[in-house]
Amino acid sequence: MVNKNPAGSLSAPVRDRAAVATLKAKFQVQNVALVVAFFVALLLVPLIPGFKGWMASQAALVVVYILAAQGLSILTGYTGLVSVGHGGFLAIGAYTAALLVKHANADIVLSLIAGAAMAGVIGMLMALVFLRLAGPFLAIGTLGFAFFVGTVVNNVKFFEGREGISVPANHALGLPVGDIGFYYISIILLALVTLFIYSLVRSSVGRALKGLRDAEKAAQSCGVNRLLYRTLAFTISAAITGLAGALSALTTRYVSAEVFGDIWYSVDFLVAAVVGGSAMLMGPIVGGIFVAMLPFFLEKLADFAFILKGVALIAVLMFAPAGVCDVIARPFRAWRRRRLERAAAGEEPVRREPPVVALEGKS
């Protein structure tokens, strides 16, 4: 399930180190350029004539799924822990934001931050209980957590149960925000979170998490504090999912137990992470789009959407255990690998430039 060797090490002895380094730097720049182009393209979408407000808010809801799946992927992909309770954090973020806007008329930016922070704090507290558990026990424990949150929002008067809470009109930094505005906000959030995960995975924290995932004992014996790093990962993961929840509450301007009391949200996020490929940057994005768009296109055929989701899930697990993105990336990766190997053998003509950043040794 986990793609343990994305970049790969070269089999042949490296004769031309500088060429390999230059090529690797070039690939890195290409990757970043692709992702940046993706987000710029997304920002330009509302300029297309015929782009309607409802499309914008629909897209913002897709982003909610993606963000939540990204939050979860920090756990499943990079930490090797599985949570089936992230719907609970989504609900916490959503209710925090909704209540803040309703009772304190808070700014959107503030509500988003508060939603993420609240989910993060509760995630940290939950981690103290849950991180004593391994594998399947953790999954069941977190599932129970999602169920608990669902029961609370359903039954505690303050959260107004199935009646729901209507969120008054929004403003961000003093400016009123409409459907298109929320589209921009969601794309910016998506870009920020993607950048954050990109840097997190390549930081010392990310390496510690991956070390714990791949060889727990070895990582611990190298001085990686298991509990500390895993609590951190759980907190970050919960906070990002809480952010997604806050975004969803502010976009739809309505929260209710009907929506957030449903534990199968949690499962949807897991499906998104697994289908897309949770150990890859684009994985949760592809998976989130898949899970969010399926019921949208098959609105009249909800049961058929269920069957399709199940079949797709099983097919992915059988034929692409590291996710759809992994399968898409495979030929490109092979191609780059061949180029790297040729460069290592000194056959690839590479423009000689002193590499700006030494990338040797990083995956």
Partner: protein, 288 residues
């Protein structure tokens, strides 16, 4: 009042126990947390409705439903679980989730999302037994659950297949070397999940009625109960299930019916915080 609450709690708990045992049996033989367990019961309930409507009597219906659901479990194993049997537990777990979606979708497609009544209902007139008022339905459910418990005990203790199944649980590699057909035993395990699921479905249907989502909550309680047995011990799972049944009934009776579901969560957090290895501990610590 109190004894009445406890009896009806035990009756519900014995139905949770059927799900919990199935979860434990499948997990300890295949490392799979079976999300589709509830759907075996759900489909069994629909099958039973079908058979009853076609004019079969109750016992013939039970026999037919159990056979059909066991077959379903075996089909799931052959088509979905066997090709990926060597994957890590998350893959196996997610695959059963896929099965869950498919079964949910199929049931919703054929029979619709609405809740339907189950044709067989129990006599609601209460019976007085040792000074406590109990209902016939509760007694029947407990009797069935106890009978199934005895059948399982005999199966695991005295039959060749049952002993082989325990051997596979303890050490699949050695079991294979000793000539036990591990694949067949795994298939049998899924058949047993279908068997238990069928009974859970038929017995719960008169209480929860029949709908594609009827088992969702029961499944979660079954998981919690299974964790009480460390996902390993059947007696632990049974005790856990009965405790959950009684505790949530008491919470429902004294705190208000909304708190029923939360009870299971509070219990699991308390348990996991105090005894992560389950109520009875695990005989053998396994690297998962």
């Amino acid at each position: 009042m109190l004894s009445q609450q406890i009896i009806s709690g035990l009756a519900t708990g014995s139905l949770y126990a059927l799900t919990a045992i199935a979860v434990v049996v499948v997990f300890r033989n295949t490392r799979t947390i079976n999300v589709a367990q509830g759907d075996f019961s759900m489909l069994a309930a629909f099958f039973a409705v079908l058979f009853l409507k076609s004019g079969m009597n109750y016992y013939a219906t039970i026999a037919m439903t159990v056979a059909a659901t066991m077959l379903l479990g075996i089909v799931v194993e052959r088509l979905v679980m066997r090709p990926i049997a060597d994957s890590d537990w998350l893959t196996l777990f997610t695959a059963t989730l896929g099965v869950y979606y498919i079964m949910h979708g199929v049931a919703g497609w054929i029979w619709g999302r609405d809740t339907k009544a189950f044709p067989v209902t129990f006599d609601p007139t209460p019976i007085k037994l040792f000074g406590t008022i109990v209902s016939e339905g509760h007694l029947i459910n407990m009797a069935w659950a106890a009978a199934i418990g005895v059948v399982l005990f005999v199966f695991f203790k005295f039959t060749k297949q049952g002993i082989a199944m325990r051997a596979v649980t303890d050490d699949p590699e050695t079991a294979k070397l000793m000539g036990i057909p591990v694949r067949f035993i795994v298939m049998l395990t899924w058949g047993m999940a279908g068997f238990l699921g069928a009974f859970a479905g038929i017995l719960i249907a008169p209480i929860l009625y029949v709908s594609p989502q009827m088992m969702d909550e029961v499944l979660i309680k079954g998981y919690v109960a299974a964790v009480f047995g460390g996902l390993y011990s059947i007696p632990g799972a049974i005790v856990g299930a009965l405790m959950i049944g009684v505790a949530e009934n008491l919470a429902g009776g004294y705190l208000g019916s909304h708190y029923k579901t939360a009870t299971a969560f509070v219990m699991i957090v308390a348990l996991l915080a105090l005894r992560p290895q389950g109520l009875f501990g695990i005989q053998k610590r396994r690297e998962i």
